[in-house]
C-alpha cells in the first residue's frame, strides 16, 4: 500500500508541475490572440486585459487588406506552392533512392550510402554562400526554384526511409517477383503502399522545415512579391514597429496554418521526431 500512495503523490506532483509550466507555455499564445482583437489604442493600455474591452476585426482587415505593404495572401501562396512542390519532389526522389539502398545489390552501394550519411556532418553554414553563388549563376534568385530544388540533395529522408523499408518482410517482394513483377512494379504496388506511415512522417517533417525556413529564403529573395511567409512576416515587423495589434494579427495568421495541421497529424510528428532521434 505504501507503494500505491507514493505513486499517487508522484502523479500529483507531476501534474502540478506540468500545469504550471503549461500555463507559462500557453500564455504567449493566448496573449497574442487577445492583442490581435484589440483596437490599436487598447493594445498598450494598462492595466492589461486578457479579455479585450472592445473586440474588433479591424487589425485583421488592415493586415489582409493592405496588399501593398503586407500581401499576406501572396506570401502564403508562395510558401504553399514552394513547400508543397518541394515535399512532393523529396518524397519521389528519396523513396526511389532509399529503396535501392535498402534492397538492391549494386557495386559501390556501401561507399555511396555511407558517403551520403557522412555529409550529414557537414555544417550547413559552410554551404550557404557557395550555394547562393550557384543559384545566382543559374538565374534562380527571386524564383521559387531557389527554395524548391537545392534541398532535394538532402540525405535525412533517405536515411529514414531506408530504415523503414528494411523492416518490411522480404517475402512479399519475393512472391511478387516469382509472379513476374518488375522491380518498378514491386516498388510502386507493394513497397510504397506499405510505407505510407513513413512517407507521411517524412512529408510532414519536410514540409514544415521548408515552410518555416528563414535564412535561405531571406537570402535568395529580394522582391516583396517573391517572399515567403516567414520572411514577409519579418518585413511586417519593420512596417508596423509600434502597431502591436496589427503585428500580432499578422503573427496569429502565420501561426494558424501549422497549428491546425498539427491538430490533425500530431502522432506523425511525434513518430517522426523520435524516429530521427533514436536511430541517429
Amino acid at each position: 500500500m505504501a507503494l500505491k500512495s507514493e505513486e499517487r503523490t508522484t502523479k500529483w506532483v507531476s501534474f502540478v508541475f506540468l500545469t504550471v509550466v503549461a500555463i507559462l507555455w500557453m500564455a504567449p499564445l493566448l496573449w497574442i490572440i487577445s492583442t490581435s482583437f484589440k483596437p490599436e489604442g487598447q493594445a498598450i493600455q494598462l492595466p492589461l486585459r486578457w479579455i479585450p474591452e472592445t473586440i474588433t476585426l479591424e487589425n485583421y482587415r488592415n493586415v489582409l487588406g493592405d496588399t501593398e505593404q503586407s500581401p499576406i495572401f501572396l506570401w502564403f501562396g508562395n510558401s504553399l506552392f514552394i513547400s508543397t512542390l518541394h515535399t512532393l519532389l523529396v518524397l519521389i526522389v528519396d523513396a526511389l533512392a532509399a529503396y535501392a539502398y535498402a534492397r538492391m545489390a549494386f557495386r559501390g552501394k556501401e561507399i555511396i550510402f555511407w558517403t551520403l550519411m557522412a555529409t550529414m556532418m557537414i555544417p550547413t553554414v559552410m554551404n550557404f554562400i557557395p550555394l547562393y553563388a550557384i543559384v545566382d549563376a543559374i538565374h534562380w534568385i527571386d524564383t521559387p526554384w531557389a527554395m524548391i530544388v537545392p534541398g532535394l540533395g538532402g540525405v535525412l529522408g533517405i536515411f529514414l526511409l531506408r530504415s523503414f523499408y528494411e523492416g518490411i518482410p522480404r517475402e512479399l517482394e519475393e512472391a511478387a517477383r516469382i509472379d513476374g513483377a518488375s522491380s518498378l512494379q514491386i516498388f510502386v504496388r507493394i513497397i510504397l503502399p506499405l510505407s505510407k506511415p513513413a512517407l507521411v512522417t517524412l512529408a510532414l517533417l519536410t514540409f514544415l522545415g521548408n515552410w518555416n525556413d528563414f535564412l535561405w529564403p531571406l537570402i535568395v529573395t529580394n522582391k516583396v512579391e517573391t517572399r515567403t511567409l516567414p520572411v514577409g512576416l519579418s518585413i511586417l515587423q519593420g512596417a508596423y514597429t509600434t502597431q502591436y495589434a496589427k503585428l500580432m494579427a499578422g503573427t496569429v495568421l502565420s501561426a494558424l496554418p501549422v497549428l491546425v495541421l498539427f491538430l490533425f497529424s500530431q502522432r506523425f510528428f511525434v513518430k517522426g521526431v523520435s524516429m530521427s532521434g533514436i536511430k541517429g
Partner: protein
C-alpha cells in the same frame, strides 16, 4: 518492362550464362543506379559542389560582379592574425557571442525538456495534452515565435514586465540591455524549441523496461537513487543525441537575434551567421564570408566530433539493447 517467365532460382543461375540472359543481367545491374540517380544528381550539384566551391571562394576575393581574384590564404590570415582587417574584431566578437549563447542555452535546452519528460512519463492526468502543448511552438517559424516574444518583452506594455511589477520587481529593457538580451534570447529559444528534445526523451524513457523501475523500488531505492541509477543511464543515448543536435542548432542561432535584438545592444548579440550574412550580402565580400563560414563550420565539426566520440564510447562501453522497433 517485364522480366520473362518465372524460373526456378537454381535454373536462373545456370541460364545466366547464355547471351540473352546476360543482357537482362546487365539491365538488372543498371536498375539500382536508375533509382539512386535523381537524388545523387541533386546531391552532387547542391551539396557536394557547394562544399568544394566554398573552399575555392574562401581563397579568393569576389564581389559577385567582377571576376574572382585569387588571394591564397589571405582571407584566413585576416580572420586569425590581421588585427587591421575588418573581420578580425567583428568575427571574433560574433564568435564569442555565439559561444556564449551555446554555453547558456544548451544546458537549459536539455534540462527543461528532461524534467518535463520525466513528469509526463508518470502517466499523470492529461499527459498527452501536455506533450502536444510543449511540442506545438516548435512548429512555428522562428519569426513567428520571436515576434510573439518581442511583444511579451515590450518594456512598456509587455506581459513579462507587467507581471514582474505585480510581484514588486522592477521590469528591465529585456531586448535592449545586457545581460537581459541574452536571457530573453534563451527564454525565447527554450519556449520555441524544447519540443523535439522532449519527444526524444519520452521515447527514451518509454524504452526503459518497467521491471527495472519495479526492481529498484522493491530494493527500496528512493526517488533520487532511481533517477540516478535507472533513468539517467537509460537515457544516455537519447541524451547525447539531444546534446549534439542542440549544440549544432545553437551554433546556428540567427533568427532569434535577427528579429528580436537586431544584434544589439551595439553588436553584443550579433551571432556568427548574422555577421557572415552581413559580410556576404551587405558588403559583398563573398570570399571573406566563405572563409569565415568554413572556420565556423570547422569549430562546429570539432565540437560535434568530440560529442560523437562520447556517444561511441558509450555504445561500445555498454551492451546496448537493440531497438525493438
Amino acid at each position: 518492362m517485364k522480366t520473362s517467365v518465372p524460373v526456378e532460382p537454381n535454373l536462373q543461375v545456370s541460364a545466366a550464362r547464355s547471351p540473352k540472359k546476360s543482357r537482362t543481367f546487365t539491365m538488372q545491374s543498371i536498375t539500382p543506379y536508375l533509382y539512386i540517380a535523381p537524388h545523387l544528381l541533386f546531391f552532387l550539384i547542391f551539396l557536394v559542389l557547394p562544399t568544394g566551391y566554398g573552399v575555392y571562394l574562401s581563397l579568393h576575393d569576389w564581389d559577385l560582379l567582377r571576376p574572382a581574384k585569387f588571394v591564397g590564404l589571405e582571407n584566413y590570415y585576416d580572420i586569425f592574425f590581421n588585427k587591421d582587417s575588418i573581420d578580425y574584431s567583428e568575427f571574433w566578437n560574433a564568435c564569442w557571442n555565439t559561444f556564449k549563447f551555446v554555453i547558456f542555452a544548451v544546458p537549459v535546452l536539455i534540462l527543461v525538456p528532461l524534467l518535463l519528460a520525466i513528469a509526463i512519463d508518470t502517466k499523470t492526468w492529461g499527459s498527452g495534452f501536455f506533450r502536444a502543448l510543449f511540442y506545438a511552438p516548435s512548429l512555428l517559424s522562428v519569426v513567428t515565435a520571436v515576434l510573439i516574444w518581442v511583444w511579451m518583452f515590450d518594456s512598456n506594455a509587455g506581459l513579462v514586465n507587467y507581471y514582474l511589477a505585480k510581484l514588486g520587481i522592477t521590469g528591465v529593457a529585456w531586448l535592449a540591455d545586457l545581460p537581459w538580451a541574452w536571457i530573453a534570447l534563451v527564454i525565447i529559444t527554450v519556449w520555441w524549441t524544447i519540443g523535439r528534445n522532449l519527444i526524444i526523451f519520452l521515447a527514451g524513457l518509454n524504452d526503459i523496461p518497467d521491471d527495472l523501475h519495479e526492481a529498484a523500488k522493491l530494493d527500496g531505492a528512493g526517488k533520487v537513487s532511481r533517477f540516478l541509477n535507472v533513468i539517467l543511464p537509460g537515457l544516455r543515448g537519447p541524451m547525447l543525441f539531444a546534446l549534439v543536435t542542440t549544440t549544432i542548432d545553437s551554433f546556428n542561432i540567427f533568427g532569434q537575434s535577427m528579429v528580436a535584438t537586431q544584434g544589439g545592444p551595439g553588436t553584443e548579440t550579433k551571432t556568427l551567421i548574422m555577421y557572415i550574412r552581413e559580410a556576404a550580402f551587405g558588403s559583398y565580400r563573398m570570399g571573406d564570408a566563405a572563409a569565415m563560414a568554413i572556420v565556423m563550420g570547422m569549430f562546429m565539426l570539432i565540437v560535434s566530433v568530440v560529442q560523437f566520440g562520447w556517444i561511441n564510447r558509450d555504445r561500445s562501453g555498454r551492451k546496448r539493447r537493440t531497438q525493438a522497433e
